[in-house]
């Protein structure tokens, strides 16, 4: 079993950051990005109660199905209609996400 996966994150300036994330620490994708000091606002801390960890999936990895809270939050923040839009706090870092490519949504901007 692979205990570290690689994730590629495109920030709001278009720069792609390649980071590693452990699969055995119960991290969410949001936490893995924050642990690597990527600029993700993630205000509510992972409760699916804001949308400031919004990402757009760029690769064809299969993500866990969206829960009701996540869907409602994305809708309220007006980013549900963006194709492949998700809350990174609701995506656990698992082995099958190795090589994942995501783009940060504009709501992640700490100044936004």
């Amino acid at each position: 079993m692979k205990d570290m996966i690689t994730i590629h994150v495109e920030d709001l300036n278009g720069t792609v950051h390649t980071v590693e994330a452990p699969t055995d620490m119960g991290l969410s994708l949001m936490e893995a990005m924050k642990a690597n000091e990527l600029p993700v606002k993630a205000m509510c801390g992972g409760m699916a109660m804001c949308a400031s960890c919004n990402i757009i999936l760029q690769s064809d990895h299969e993500l866990p199905e969206m829960g009701e809270d996540e869907e409602a939050m994305l809708d309220e923040a007006m980013v549900l209609d963006v194709p492949n839009s998700r809350l990174s706090c609701q995506i656990p870092v698992t082995e099958n996400l190795d090589g994942l490519r995501v783009k940060l949504g504009y709501l992640t901007d700490p100044e936004a």
Partner: protein
Amino acid sequence: MIETDIIIIGAGPVGLFTVFEAGLIKLRCHLIDALPQPGGQLSEIYPKKPIYDIPGYPSVLAGDLIDNLMEQIAPFKPGFTLGERAEYIEKQDDGRYVVTTNRGTVHVAPVIAIAGGLGCFEPRKPDLDRLTDFEDHGVDYIIKDPEKFRDKKIVIAGGGDSALDWTIFLADVASEVTLVHRRQAFRGALDSVEKVKNLAEAGRVDLRTLSEVTTLRGDSELSGVSVTDLKTEEVNEIEADYYIPLFGLSPKLGPIKDWGLNLNKESISVDTFDYSTNVPGIYAIGDINDYPGKLRLILCGFHEATLMVQSAYKVIHPEKNLVLKYTTVSGVSGFEG
């Protein structure tokens, strides 16, 4: 003009607890917050979430923690300027600071404690033509004084707790209440959803799900909105004195960055000796500050507030010495008036 010892910017848990610790050493406080109610994120974002790391509470709901803090600080009679954003800080000739809000309320004190969390909450605004033209002319994002809506026709949009709670509340106040929500399901407390459905069945609320407000009408004042059914694309015209979009709030650092304070990204750099900023008499505590080893936890903010007021005391009363008193010995004696 409001005069006090410490102006606290931000009425979240850390700002509120500052009132208690300041009160124990006979300092008076006045809080300013952009939100219409105290509690910051805890009231606005997650009032029903349990918090497990408050010492002495195995579990406490965020909303209950705020209620308890309000009770705890009540003897010290704090002042509140709510629903207004602290905008400008100036230093007077006598050394005291003047804090002015976006609504022009003026506060004066020798010490400022910034407990601003992640900044001031600003409403998420829908993308509608003429929306900003109607702000304060029929469009409101936060509700400060519900009486304003008495016998008026109002249209609320949103699907969270605030949209549901205000729909329920205003059903008894306004002449007509329409609730418009893009989805079928609501993201709020189940009993609130139930109440809104009952009000709709009783004909007291016009509930329009899978619908969206798409146009605002009126000359200088709002007179109506168009509501589009997202399935059939049918458009209905509704008369409205007020349109209240409640799509949640998101914090922005806002004016804090213009106050001449040393910042590290979006946080205010402080000295951990007393959580002072680079400007004498201005402190920063809680989630808004930054120092080596900083953890954004409520309990750390409580500690910071406690040390901070000791230093503030020396600014306010340079001639006096302070002796630490225990509440077990001295109790809590509040202010008379």
